[in-house]
Amino acid sequence: MEPLKLKVSYAPFVRSKDSIESVMYNVAVALLPATLVSIYFFGWRALLVTGVSIVSSICFEWAIDKIRKKPTACLDGSALVTGQLLALNLPSGLPLWMVIMGAFVAIVIAKHLFGGLGFNIFNPALVARVFLLISFPAAMTEWYAPFSVDMQTAASPLGILKTDGLQALAGFNTLDAFYGIRPGSLGETSILALLPGAAWLLYKKYITWHIPFVFIGTTMLFTGIFYLIDPLGYASPLFHLLTGGLVLGAFFMATDMVTSPLSLRGQIIFGIGCGVLTAIIRLWGGYPEGVSFAILIMNALVPLLDRWDVSEIKAKKQPSIKAA
């Protein structure tokens, strides 16, 4: 009998079924309701933006893997999620070349120039969004009202709040905002469509509750204090929760594994920081919306937060080693 060819590897010999692919595809599935609802609200143009964003992201990933002479990882799901998230952050009427440019910034500049998956400091989709927002402020804030047949542009609630003040928002309907019947970018409008995805990720333990709930809680608390002080000058915390990209950002972008802190303490500080910055930018900043800036600024602090934990571990050990 031919002797059996054995293979030797190191323990453990059983591994969990989770892989990078499964994590990424689960996030993609969790974003699916929001994508579908955006297509329902904004029509074929939303489908086009989403499609172009995803396809160009995957193509850029493939190309840069070839250039970097790495095994191609364009189908591992991370480019898909980046493309999907980017599309959800864009207005439905954005010219397609801008979408492609955004995908380029996300994959090539924000992800691979920092070293690829796992090494990027900033959330790629958000970098692309902010890049587009700063480069093309007009196109990026041309929102379309849902179901608008003649592609009529409208201002988002936060935009109205910033430019015209609280009085202009008299017709604001809380329930409509919850369903997503308001102008805004593809994915941020319908809170209802985002919730099942968020629940799925929490249930599958791909994200923990700490970052999103602390983030949203802090924003509501901060805006709530000012609302209580001056209800006529400031919008209610509920308004801040339901408008803008707070829910999308808190559940799907602040929780990005690569760009969020590792420890519980770090995650809570990260959430508080995101919340406070979002509220500050919304209340007093130049831009109506602050979620993306807040997350990106806190992303930059993540290495510091992680280092804090590491240096604490070291400091705990140092005396005992010196004594020995």
């Binding site: 059996l4 054995l6 190191y10 323990a11 010999f13 990078i20 590792l262 590491v310 050990k317 080693i321």
Partner: protein
């Protein structure tokens, strides 16, 4: 339900053999008895080629303080004494015995049961040491040494480890059902060695209610506590078991006796009972033969020194799809490179599996999901340890608590990037101690 505080994972249990009674395997054609079946220095062979040995006769004498005796598993003739593959993955000096089929005990061994209460403490310890009893859970620490801790340490808790948290393995489970009396007696003997108020516990995972019930019958009257523990890996790791049962934490650099605890395996308790009451050296044990690629998964009672190839034949041979043969459990076991390796005192299971993950393996980059951190029962940062190990920065890695890692494998299990976290930590441990040796030399 009690459990340890931090970390832990839930791998699929796959206890295929928990309902199967222990079978006795007939004696093999040839026995290969390794001299290194324990932690510490290998025993010194005391027989020559051509010698006739009786069953239970000493073939390897303990060499040094941390070492253990090795005995002939059956009567026969010494065929060779040479280096031979060992299930630990390395080579070890091995005594080959051709059985004569008579299976004759050496005189004075395997006597009718005597009352251990009449023996002095020194006599009990001597019998345990002479019988070559070692920890049968996997590490193989000589029991005689473990039972004589430094004088300044007071032991107030004795724990028997019946958690058997590794997937597949059921050897301890079956033994608990079939020999509860011997286990309780073994535990009583251990407890009698320590002065003062000593509480005794047997920790059993909740997936073995029948074992807990069987032991309870005998243990209750003796004041031994049966503790049912949550089914969670690594519940049976020494430090985690102590934490789960007593709430105490064994810190880095400490041994269980620093916290007043001693942990012994279920099988070790039986070996101690047989050594003390029957004067029977440790020459056989119960092993789980399992895995998807073996024809009939079984629990078998087997002589130390039986080769894996003969065991596979006894269990109806393995399929062609087998690509890994593993000793111990799938979380902390060792993959074998040869089927010539023999069963040792510490072999708790032999698994024949088709590891499909191997083809797809290959480490990917860390995506910082922090699962390894929440899985680590020792509250470490496995990703950080592995990254530092990859940089070969052995000064810094010690500051990150490398020595505290028990190599339970939980981090590698959960890692979605399939990083070899435990292997990197083990790698750093080996090279750091090598470097220390070189520096002091």
């Amino acid at each position: 339900m009690k459990t340890f505080k931090t970390g832990g994972i839930h791998p699929p249990e796959q206890k295929l053999t928990s309902g199967k009674a222990v079978e006795v395997m007939p004696h093999p054609q040839e026995l290969a008895v390794p001299m290194s079946q324990h932690l510490g220095k290998p025993a010194k062979p005391v027989v020559k080629v051509g010698d006739e040995v009786k069953k239970g006769q000493l073939v390897g004498a303990a060499d040094g303080f941390i070492s253990a005796n090795v005995h002939a598993p059956t009567s026969g003739k010494i065929k060779a004494v040479k280096q031979h593959p060992h299930p630990g993955g390395q080579y070890s000096m091995t005594v080959f015995i051709t059985p004569d089929g008579k299976d004759e005990w050496l005189e004075g061994l395997n006597t009718p049961e005597c009352d251990w209460k009449k023996l002095s403490k020194e006599e009990i310890l001597k019998r345990i040491t002479d019988a070559g009893v070692v920890g049968m859970g996997g590490a193989g620490f000589p029991s005689g040494v473990k039972l004589s801790p430094p004088r300044d340490k007071t032991i107030d808790t004795i724990i028997l480890n019946g958690a058997e948290c590794e997937p597949f393995l059921t050897a301890d489970h079956r033994v608990m059902i079939e020999e509860p009396e011997a286990i309780v007696k073994g535990l009583e003997i251990i407890t009698s060695l320590f002065q003062g108020q000593v509480s005794a516990y047997i920790g059993i995972e909740s997936n073995k209610p029948d074992a807990a019930a069987a032991l309870k019958k005998h243990a209750d009257s003796k004041g031994i506590g049966i503790v049912v523990l949550e089914t969670k890996y690594p519940q049976g790791a020494e430090k985690q078991l102590i934490n789960a049962i007593t709430g105490r934490t064994v810190n880095e650099g400490e041994l269980p006796f620093d916290k007043g605890c001693l942990v012994h395996n279920i099988a070790t308790a039986i070996a101690i009972y047989e050594a003390v009451c029957k004067n029977k050296p440790l020459i056989e044990r119960v092993v789980t033969i399992s895995g998807m690629e073996i024809h009939t998964a079984k629990n078998i009672r087997i002589l130390v020194g039986t080769k894996f190839s003969e065991i596979a034949a006894f269990c109806g041979s393995m399929t062609e799809k087998t690509n890994q043969v593993i000793t111990g459990g799938p979380m902390m076991g060792k993959a074998q490179f040869s089927l010539d390796v023999p069963v040792t005192k510490t072999t708790s299971g032999i698994l024949f599996i088709n590891n499909r993950g191997l083809e797809k393996s290959g480490e990917k980059t860390c995506i910082r999901c922090s699962r390894c951190i929440s899985a680590c029962p020792q509250n470490l940062q496995p990703w950080l340890l592995a990254n530092t190990a990859q940089l070969r920065d052995f000064d810094t890695i010690e500051l990150y608590g490398m020595a505290n890692c028990t190599e339970c494998g939980s981090c590698s299990y959960v890692c979605p990037s399939k990083r070899e976290l435990v292997h990197w930590i083990k790698y750093a441990k080996t090279l750091a101690s090598k470097r220390k040796q070189r520096q002091s030399a």
